[in-house]
Subunit: 83 residues, 2 copies
Amino acid sequence: MNVRVYVTPKKGILDPQGAAVERSLPNLGFTGVSGVQIGKIIDLTITGDGLTAAAAHEQVDDMCRRLLANPIIEDYTFEISEG
Amino acid sequence: MNVRVYVTPKKGILDPQGAAVERSLPNLGFTGVSGVQIGKIIDLTITGDGLTAAAAHEQVDDMCRRLLANPIIEDYTFEISEG
């Protein structure tokens, strides 16, 4: 199964990377851009004998909490597709 | 308009961050995970007097090529929604 995880900074959390991009854009001539926030996409493939969608969902959620995201400062969502 | 940009490593390009995650997962008890690739999500808001969807599309594409992505090693796509 193919999994795509989206990890984004929680609202109100300082996002220095986003702030740096936002400050750089006017120097390149891009005006009117605000609220830049930078997060991560993690694509992966998960396989296993008799792995059900529900089991994959639980495993990916566990992976997010323990490695892929920092739940204190980041939100995460994910999509699982067969394939 | 709200914009979400997805930046992912091109196929075949070494992705050390993804490789590091992939090597860490078995140590945490997660098996059967392969093909880990890590990219970026950039959320931003773009405003302007009389900004059309077509003009916003062109501006975001330009931003991707010049700042947000490295077109040599990364692919990018984006979605623009009104709001």
